[in-house]
Structures are given as structure tokens and as C-alpha cells.
Amino acid sequence: MKSLRKLVDKIKPNFEKGGKLHKLHSTFEAFETFMFVPNTTSKKGVHIHDVIDLKRTMGVVVLALIPALLFGMYNTGYQHFKSIGELANQGLFDLFLYGLWKVLPIVVVSYVSGLAVEFIFAQIRGHQVNEGFLVSGMLIPLVMPVDVPLWMVAISTVFAVVIGKEVFGGTGMNIFNPALLARAFLFFAYPSFMSGDKVWIAEKADAFSGATPLALGAMGEPQVNSTMDMVIGTIPGSVGETSVIAIGIGAIILLLTGIGSWRIMFSALLGGAAMGLLLNTFAVNPFMAIPWWQHLIMGGFAFGIVFMATDPVSGSQTNKGKYIYGFLIGFIAILIRVLNPAYPEGVMLAILFMNTFAPLIDFYVIEANMKKRMKRAKVSTNA
């Protein structure tokens, strides 16, 4: 460790101003600060700082995503062998290995293409490389169908990072959740690869139906998969979205560490349940009649509200606003899902939609605070 530090110190001057490799200083800095928390001490203001930083924060979110990733790999294998009718002949490890073989390339492509863009932008701007993409890079593979061509992953990631984030000024300035933007991009640009019943299972046998519960629901045949399957996650779907248990573990990590907003998660659940109940009450078709609580474990709802809606940058930033923001995400997600059969996955659209409205919600929350203060001014001048 000490010798490593010595080595870093030795090559560091090359990247500083006037050095031969100054053009790569952002890249160097990114790797240096990744390995070593810098030795900078406070210059002004407080003399002591909390040890939390953005790297730790993002690290915890990535950690919370790992259960969903691992289960997604297992499920990829499970669905594949189920579709070709060989499930009984494979061990757990074989299923996982198959999934690893399929999913890992998506993860790698997502990280490499996204980070490349981040590094280039940081370099041009003379900024430091931000940690935001550590999470986005993991989210993107988890919301993709496993059969998605890798070049599409690359294109959508680049699109999401450039248009979704960098044009606004980088991490912290973006309006939309970059990972969702990547998915939305593919959804509208290459719809045949993002929906239907072919894409959810890797190398599916043609005869086997690979439709997701949502697709089935929209076609008016809900309840092919058992509730238990949906909770455990052994159903077709995007890589990371199927297992409520794995997502639940992630949610517990986020809530316990306080990094994910309980206000958003809780109110989104409430919103989803409210819409579900409303639909149950006025049900005119089988999909509307699906018990309200089943909506909460179907499709990408759980994944969306735990990992996407809680993005602090694109979501509502005021505590009061978070309740409204979360509630409407849940409410609208189920609304779109059930009443617009063209878009079976309403969660993605609901979150992107609410990303747009988050600043407006905050605006009114802030306005209320201002009004309260200005009212005080009037009272005291009258007195």
C-alpha cells in the first residue's frame, strides 16, 4: 500500500499542469482518488468533516443492487433452461453460470461505454470525474431484457449519459434519471427488442411462451404465474426486476443506511396501492380486477420505486415534496400499466414523467415556506 502510494506520487507530476500527460489528468485523478482518499484538509469553514462522501454513498447503492444482479443471473439461466425443457437436468450452479455468461457482458458494456463518456467530458471540462455513473452503470443492465444486443446497450448508455446528464452539467444537474433514460431510449427506438414475449428469455425455445405477467395481464390472461413465483422472481422480465425478495434486500440496505429516501419508497407504495384499489373498485376487465397488492410485486414496480424513484438528483428534493412525488409515481405507474395496453411497463414512464414535475412540486413547497416567513413580516409590522 505504501509502495503503491509511492508509485502514484512518482507518476503524478506527469499529469499535473505542464506535465507530459496533463491531458489525462481527470482520468488519473479519478483512479487516484478511487484508490486513495485524498490528503486535503479543510482550508476554511469547519475543521472537521463527516467521513461520508459521494464514493461511499454510491458504493452503498451499488451494494444494494448486488442481490438483484445475482438473482437476475440465476433467473436468466433458470428461464433459459425452463424454456428448452431442461430445467430438471441443471444444477443451481449451472443456471447461475449460464446467467453470468449472458449478463456480465451487458454490465461490462454499460460501464465501459458510460465511463468513457464521463471521462471524456470531465477531461474537456477540466472537471473531476463524478461518481454518479457507478450506480447508473449498474442500473442500466438490470433494467434491460437479457436478450438485448450489446451494441444497443452501448448506444443507449451513451445517449443517456450525454443527453440525460452531461448536457445539463453532469451528476447533480440532470433532470432525468440516466438509467431510465437509457431504457426509454431503447423502448422507443427499438420497440421490438424491448417488449413482446421473445426478449425476456435468453435463447428461448420458440414454442415456449416467454411473456411476462404484465404482458399476459394486458392480454386479459392474468395469473399464469403464481404469486410465489413473482415474489421469488422466477418469472420472465428485465434482468434485475423480477425478484421482490432480492429487491427487498436492496431496499433494506438503502433504508437502513438512510441513503434511499423512505419518504419516496413509502409514498410510492401507497400511491400504487391506492390506484390498484381504485381500479379494483371499477374493474370492467380481468386486468383491472387483479388484486391491488399484486400490482406491487409485478413487473418493474418494486425495482422502480426502490432504485429509480429514490434518485436524489432527478427526484423531488424537499422533504414534503418527496411524499407527493413518490405517491404520484406509484399512482401513475399502475394507471398506465393497466389502462394503456401499449405500455405494459408504466413504472418507467411514471418515474420519467414525475422527474419532469419534481421541480414544480419543489417550487410550491419552497413557495409555501417563503409565504410563511413573509406573513411573519406583516404580522410584526402591524403589531
Binding site: M1, L4, R5, M35, F36, V37, P38, N39, T40, T41, S42, K44, G45, V46, H47, I48, H49, D50, V51, I52, D53, L54, K55, R56, T57, G59, V60, Q128, N130, E131, G132, G169, G170, T171, G172, M173, L256, T257, G258, I259, S261, P312, V313, G315, Q317, T318, N319, K322, I366, N369, M370, K372, R373, M374, R376, A377, K378, V379, S380, T381
Partner: protein, 448 residues
């Protein structure tokens, strides 16, 4: 007329190195300094140039806008140094003496014998006027204002902060006299903020409005107390005075004496003789700072770890400071620090494990523990600011210099110390206090 206010938000940072309540002998010091950067809102001009002989109480500097506001020499001697920084701005005016124990005498007719104007004149000429601070913006008060109320906090809740009840034990009379003096300066009330758990002798104060505060830091900050008892409205002006300075003003008006002495806490994990020391304001800290860990690179702070000023080992005690803190500098790299469990570090975030070990005290250094970033995390400032103020939005309005918005968001209610904890907990390592001060400076320039 008293009530109890429960402060729920905030944080008592569990830092090691509290000073035991023992009064220790201060090593004799012969050099004293006034430091212009200590004084917010004054435009100071030097009167006693280098090598001038001065008597205790003689004017060293005065405010260009109001020549009656002066800084005086606490001792008789010679101006030996005028240290300047960028753009020749004066940073320190140093006086060396042979007789540090001198008492400065002023003519007084007692508290009841003097009118409001006479009291103000006397406080000004004795060099104590800068101890009266005004809200909004925490600058030195303007003598022409008629403050709505005057607020005094009687406890210091900041990390390792001094116990003011202990520090003022032998100045109770002066303190109560000071309250009487301040009552003559306002048509409103003199408001005392007391510690609910341990109000100390301050509880014996009469003819003042008492409010008891119960909760973590910043419950002891006068700004938090104002907001949670008699909040300021736009356009309101209030004055605040630190408890030790109330006693100093009381002694001046009642007895005509000024010594500039105060009892400070000497604390921090690297201090080998922690405790309380009687020191003159502006005193050379060199000998006191000898009583520290010699093995490590240290950071010396005049004041507390949140709002204090970094000083050299040869530095001087600030005009407003009631403590000196010494912590490790911590300018070392940490291998994959962000990914480590970091059991020996404190974090308010549960992303580390300190929340599982309540009661544990931590040795904390001056390392930033990360790099500055844009605002990403939300809701963390709100947890440590016990005010109905939206901290992030306020800071952003200060960054884009929107005067109207700053005002509506309540910039007149806070000063740096009130939001110092926000800076401590900030994941993005924002310089909260300096952003806020820039915003306040702009407000002063545009609206006052």
C-alpha cells in the same frame, strides 16, 4: 415568564478531548493582537502605526464609517508588528507589553446614572462595542439602531465548547449588571436562552425573558434560540451578545473597569493539559500550545472545530473566542478509505457503523474525507438545522445571487455558525459557511 423549547434536530458531534472543569494557570504571555478579520461589518483603519507606544485602552484601529467604533489595546506597550495579507489587508496588530496584568479604568456614573446615549458612548470608547452583534447577518451592531430585542445564549453547545456557568463563576455580579445595561439599550426585551438540563447560575437572572432549550447542538446558538422563541421578520433588527462579553460590559458600566480577561476552555484530542485558563483577549497562544502532542502534525484552532479560525502555533486568541481547540491535521492519504468499514471514524450517515456505537468518542482530524462535488444528496442538511429554513435552497439562491429569493428563504435568520453542522455532514463537501457569508455580504451591499 419562561418556557421550554425542545430542539429535535441537530447533532452533538462525539469528538474526543473535552476540557475538565479545572481552572489552570495560564503561562504568562507578553504579546497581544487584535485581528481585523475577526470583525464582520467593520472597515477598519489603523491608528497606532508600527513602533508607536500605546497605553492600555488606547485606540489601535477605528471603523472608517463610524469613527466612534474602535478597537483598543488591551495592554500598555509598543505596537511591534502590523502583519498584512493579500492586497495589504491588515491581519494582525500586535502589541508587546511588560505589564500584562493592567486594569483599564474609565469614568462611570453607574448603570442608573447613565442615559442610553452615555452608555453607548462609554462602551464604544472602552473598545467593547464590537462585542454587540446585530442580526441579521451577524455583523457588529450599528449604534443608531433601536434593536427589537437583545438576545443572549447562556450555554455553548458546540463541540467541546466551554461550560459558561463554570467560566463565569467569579463574574456573576458583572453578568447580572451587564443584563441591566443591555435592558437600557432596547425598548424590547432582554432574552436569555438557558440550558434546560443545566441552567447554572444564569437561572437567577431577573427582569429578563427566559427560554429554556433542550436538545443537541446548535441549541446553544443564539440564532437558533431567536428562531425558536421570537423569530425575526424581514426588516427586524435584534442584537446579540455572548455571555462572557455581557459580563465585561457590566463591569465597565458598573465599576468602570475593563481587563479583557476571560476564561477559555483548552480542549481537543491532542491537548496534554486540557482545562480552563484565564486569558486576555488577543493573547499570544504559543506557550499554551506547548501543552500539546508533539508527535503529530497539529491543527490549532482559536474557537471551536466548527466555526473557529485556524491559527499558527504563534497565533493569537480571537476577539470573540472562548476556547482553543487542537486536533490532528490528518493530511494523509487513506487507501480505499471510502470502501473501508472505518470503525474509528464518526459519521452521521448510517453508511458507516458509528450509529451502532452510541456514546463512543472519536479522535477527529481536519481531513476532508472526500472531494467537493455538486449537490447530490438531499435531506441531510435538514436533519441538523432546527429551523424552518430550507438550507439547500437558501445556499443555492446565495450561489446564483438572487437577493429577493435569499430574503424570502430567510437569509436574515441565519449566520454561519447556525449552518456549520450542515457543512460538517455534507456528502458533497460544500463550503456552506463561506457560501452563506458571500450571500450575506451581497445582502448587506445591496440592501443596507
Amino acid at each position: 415568564m419562561s418556557k421550554v423549547v425542545k430542539i429535535k434536530k441537530g447533532l452533538d458531534i462525539p469528538i474526543k478531548g473535552a476540557a475538565p472543569k479545572e481552572l489552570k494557570d495560564m503561562p504568562e504571555t507578553l504579546r497581544f493582537a487584535v485581528k481585523p478579520p475577526d470583525f464582520k461589518g467593520l472597515d477598519l483603519k489603523l491608528k497606532s502605526k508600527q513602533d508607536t507606544e500605546v497605553k492600555a485602552g488606547d485606540v489601535l484601529m477605528f471603523d472608517k464609517k463610524n469613527n466612534d467604533i474602535v478597537l483598543v489595546s488591551p495592554v500598555s506597550g509598543k505596537v511591534v508588528e502590523v502583519n498584512r495579507g493579500e492586497k495589504r489587508r491588515i491581519l494582525e496588530v500586535v502589541v508587546e507589553t511588560t505589564n500584562p496584568g493592567e486594569i483599564i479604568k474609565h469614568q462611570t456614573k453607574g448603570i442608573d446614572g447613565l442615559s442610553r446615549e452615555e452608555i453607548i458612548k462609554l462602551i464604544q470608547s472602552a473598545g467593547l462595542w464590537p462585542y454587540i452583534i446585530m442580526r441579521p447577518y451577524g455583523i457588529v451592531a450599528r449604534p443608531d439602531d433601536k434593536p427589537r430585542d437583545i438576545f443572549i445564549s447562556t450555554f455553548d453547545s458546540s463541540p467541546l465548547g466551554p461550560d459558561l456557568d463554570f467560566a463565569l463563576q467569579d463574574q456573576k455580579e458583572d453578568f447580572f449588571n451587564g443584563l441591566k445595561v443591555l435592558a437600557k439599550l432596547t425598548e424590547g426585551e432582554v432574552c436569555l436562552g438557558l440550558n434546560k438540563k443545566n441552567p447554572g447560575f444564569f437561572d437567577e437572572a431577573k427582569d429578563v425573558r427566559k427560554t429554556y432549550f433542550n436538545g443537541p447542538h446548535p441549541a446553544g446558538n443564539v440564532g437558533i434560540q431567536i428562531h425558536n422563541s421570537k423569530p425575526l421578520a424581514k426588516g427586524d433588527i435584534a442584537w446579540t451578545v455572548q455571555a462572557q462579553n455581557v459580563a465585561m460590559i457590566g463591569k465597565l458600566i458598573a465599576n468602570g473597569e475593563v481587563t479583557f480577561d476571560r476564561t477559555i476552555a483548552f480542549a481537543g484530542s491532542e491537548v496534554t493539559q486540557p482545562g480552563y485558563y484565564k486569558v486576555k483577549v488577543g493573547a499570544d497562544l504559543n506557550k499554551l500550545l506547548d501543552h500539546t502532542n508533539k508527535e503529530e502534525k497539529l491543527r490549532y484552532i482559536s474557537g471551536n472545530v466548527l466555526t473557529g479560525t485556524k491559527v499558527d502555533k504563534h497565533g493569537y486568541l480571537g476577539f470573540y473566542d472562548s476556547m482553543v481547540t487542537v486536533i490532528p491535521e490528518g493530511d494523509e492519504y487513506e487507501f480505499f478509505g471510502w470502501a473501508m468499514p472505518r470503525f474509528k471514524h464518526f459519521s452521521i450517515s448510517r453508511a458507516y457503523f458509528s450509529w451502532l456505537m452510541p456514546g463512543k468518542k472519536y479522535k477527529m482530524n481536519a481531513n476532508m474525507h472526500g472531494e467537493e462535488r455538486a449537490f447530490v444528496i438531499t435531506g441531510e442538511y435538514e436533519k441538523v438545522l432546527p429551523m424552518d429554513v430550507m438550507p439547500v435552497q437558501l445556499l443555492k439562491s446565495a450561489m446564483y445571487e438572487d437577493i429577493d429569493e435569499m430574503e424570502k428563504l430567510g437569509i436574515f435568520e441565519v449566520i454561519e455558525e447556525d449552518m456549520a453542522l450542515c457543512e460538517f455532514v455534507c456528502t458533497s463537501k460544500m463550503e456552506v459557511q463561506s457560501i452563506l457569508r458571500k450571500g450575506m455580504d451581497l445582502m448587506i451591499k445591496e440592501t443596507m
